[in-house]
Assembly symmetry: C2
Homo-oligomer: 207 residues x 2
DNA sequence: CTAGTCTGATAACAGTCGTTGTCAATAATG
DNA sequence: CATTATTGACAACGACTGTTATCAGACTAG
């Protein structure tokens, strides 16, 4: 039995959590700077200034690290978007715009997160599946929880999910084009255009 | 100086072209069955029943092969879509539906092509950039060449490109969800829904 | 038949990969 | 003090990577 002990005033559990955070941050750095293909245990550990041993302390697998990193970003985007939506006045266009602006704010503030959510999660099979799963989950969540949307009529669930996938996928490509410099739009222009297109698609829910 | 000579009744140039085709087909197989991460020169050559030497005869690089494979699929989709659009009666909704149906027909008939265009071209950085480049190119082409669209008014080019990226990206995610079984829609349902959403977005071109 | 081209299998090169193990130095505990 | 947990650096393992070279056998041309 090996007892756990504090080190430099920091208890064991906290040290573990700290290293885990370091690895997740390093994963975002590596994804952003060198891309998904260049990801490796050694590269991430070097970035985090940690030994491979500590990698396997916190993650069973390279895939688990990437999954955790991408999930945290997805959760943050969804959280902010839903919060902004909840705080916005009770008008559909305003709420949609607020949600898009909040979500876009996350990835435009920290481009590493954009890379994680747009590039990494697109290239890796399991990550891509996970992203789509989350999109349909949040679609269900919004459909059920948004009174203004339900007021428009009750769409078949599959139709609503299809629309959710469509507007999320479309937004992803537009945002990536903007952040990579291939499409020059100001933040306001991005949010305005995305809002317009989202509303155009969502208006199809009524008929 | 090494003279070229026929082998088993086939001239040298034709043999080279044949091997090149074999490699491209093998690339589609590998992408579809094992994913982008499992792609390697040896894997593709094994699939094509060729030696690595012949790989470097036709392609300088693994990236060049993937680029060529993905480009050929993209070209085929665009070709069929534009042809169907040109043959359709002069009504916007009908033309858009014909184009979508034709494009979807390509990837639903040969799922390897769907993998190439949706998964491979999303994960690999340069391939992804190339796909987006082509999307904006075709967007320009359609904007300039489609009278019914111009009749709606002249949108700013950047706005039109943004819409093109949006509807293509959205369609990609929906189609991938359908082909992977996560979203159960018949071919007619897919085409109908995509057409509806495309038209909803494109209607924003008028202002 | 002989000379020369073409083919396919295999080996070799130096790297990197994931993963595990070793070991001296450092810090906390008794 | 001595003991023990913790750390970080480093080596080692087999497997795979891209790329090039080697070599015996199949085929063609003169």
């Amino acid at each position: 039995m090996t007892a756990s002990r504090a080190y430099r005033g920091v208890p064991a559990e906290e040290r573990r959590a700290q290293r885990r955070r370091l690895l997740l941050e390093a994963a975002l750095d590596c994804l952003h700077e060198d891309g998904l293909a260049a990801i490796s245990v050694r590269a991430i550990c070097g970035r985090a200034r940690l030994t491979p041993r500590y990698f396997y302390e916190s993650f069973e697998d390279l895939e688990q690290l990437l999954l955790a990193a991408v999930n945290s970003v997805i959760d943050e985007v969804a959280e902010r978007a839903l919060a902004a939506l909840a705080e916005a006045p009770a008008e559909l266009a305003v709420q949609v715009r607020a949600a898009i602006d909040a979500g876009y704010g996350v990835v435009v503030t920290d481009e590493r997160k954009a890379s994680a959510i747009l590039v990494a999660a697109s290239g890796h099979g399991p990550l891509r599946a996970r992203r789509q799963q989350l999109v349909t989950d949040y679609a269900d969540l919004i459909i059920d929880g948004l009174p203004l949307l339900n007021a428009l009529g009750l769409p078949e669930r599959r139709t609503a999910r299809t629309m959710a996938l469509f507007v999320m996928g479309g937004a992803a490509d537009v945002i990536e084009a903007v952040l990579s410099g291939r499409l020059r739009l100001s933040r306001t222009q991005v949010v305005d255009q995305l809002t317009t297109m989202w509303l155009a698609v969502l208006s199809g829910l009524t008929g």
